[in-house]
Symmetry: C2
Subunit: 240 residues, 2 copies
DNA sequence: GTCTATACAACGATAGAC
DNA sequence: GTCTATCGTTGTATAGAC
């Protein structure tokens, strides 16, 4: 099942949000489904509602004071579930972090490649990819923030997966730039460094969400600025 | 006492490193001096050596698994000091984090403004500021990384100081861009957003230090790329 | 100035009642 | 399916010997 409801690529953030059949509730369903027969709670409606509550509370508390500093007792009071109740849904604290990381990441590449695939020229694909990434991180800001800040606390295998996914996104953009260089759409050839810097700019949006909100800079304007900055560097006209 | 030994602005990183009278040992001295009469250990040589060990160990462990997940027992074994011994130098775990944040930050604005002050045109000042920031974060990478990742765990007053210092650096760059717009050195006028994005690029250098090392990208090349990217956006020639 | 020994709170996790 | 009660561990911090 894809998370993108419509195959048309929406250009505005409002349209993007509507086309995207993602919500925190939706992800909770995926987590329950992934747990499968292993889950102790069989009633789907009850289970999904509680997983949703647990994940929301974890993101809220961990993004404020850090996951390591968030105790299961904090989580217990925030969700309204008891300590014992929590353990009906998670097998331990570490697994909870891994769960959020895994399911949060799963949709990123999916959505990105889907939105970029629609366009034809390298420049248009690049622009679509940048916008999709920013829009997605706007909708799922807590997930992205958590993913960045808590990746280094994960166990070895999960950490490796996180790093791989990180590189995958960057590679996606680098390949696009290489394609643009080859087709002579771009006039500069430093795809590796440019992709790395693009990544830094995309990350800044969800890492400093509060700063941009205080300054009344919305995601559309930020996207325009990133595209303008990158395109002027690559030697591409603004109206692609 | 300034941390810059020579008033001439060195352009290469090698020269920068030599002119900068900063070392981890040097900062340990400043921490001891700031503790003043409050310090329980009166022998300066002994005290500074141990503070140095404690700070080094804290940065090493905290930057690997997070400050919250780093126990004072970890710190005790890493430094070779006993639990009781540690408390001769710090009054608690929280104070230790605040100490590193405070003394690490103190030098940034100092060095930055000093290096930018030498140049005359806005473009040259901007270039010097970018290079100084990158070179400084290269020398003190663990401090910068710790400052970014652990800022949100600080107590209210320390957190406010961290945010203020963060904004101060960005403002420094924004003012420069405004000056360049006014003097018509730059042809674009979006100083606020451009400064924010520059900050994101500067941060990426110390947040992803390992990635750039693996790819054999050194600080000189990264600095050139950041300057090129920004200057092409601002409409400035490359040879300022 | 540094150590050992210890106090005491908070943590993750589990068992068994309901 | 959820709760209360409790286990053992680990954490920060301190007192007093040396």
């Amino acid at each position: 099942m894809s998370v993108v409801a419509d195959s048309a690529a929406p250009d505005s953030f409002t349209a993007f949000k509507e086309c995207l059949a993602i919500s925190e509730h939706h992800i909770a369903q995926q987590i329950w489904a992934a747990g499968g027969a292993g889950s102790k709670v069989k009633n789907e409606a009850v289970a999904v509602a509680n997983i949703d509550k647990i994940v929301r509370a974890t993101l809220k508390l961990a993004n404020k004071k850090g996951f390591a500093a968030t105790s299961l007792r904090d989580l217990s009071t925030e969700t309204g579930l008891s300590m014992g109740g929590l353990y009906a849904y998670i097998s331990g604290k570490d697994e909870l972090a891994a769960l959020i990381q895994h399911h949060g990441r799963a949709i990123v590449i999916d959505v990105l490649s889907q939105y970029m695939g629609i366009e034809t020229t390298a420049a248009a694909k690049l622009r679509a990819g940048i916008r999709a990434h920013l829009f997605l991180s706007e909708v799922l800001q807590p997930w992205f923030f958590f993913g960045f800040m808590e990746a280094r606390h994960l166990a070895k295998p999960q950490k490796a997966a996180a790093i791989e996914s990180e590189q995958e996104t960057e590679t996606l953009f680098r390949e696009l730039m290489l394609a643009g260089e080859k087709s002579a759409e771009f006039s500069v050839n430093d795809a590796e460094l440019s992709a790395a810097m693009l990544k830094a700019l995309l990350q800044d949006w969800y890492l400093k969400r509060g700063k941009y909100r205080r300054r009344n800079i919305d995601v559309e304007r930020y996207a325009d600025q990133v595209v303008a900055l990158l395109f002027s560097h690559l030697g591409v006209g603004k109206d692609v």
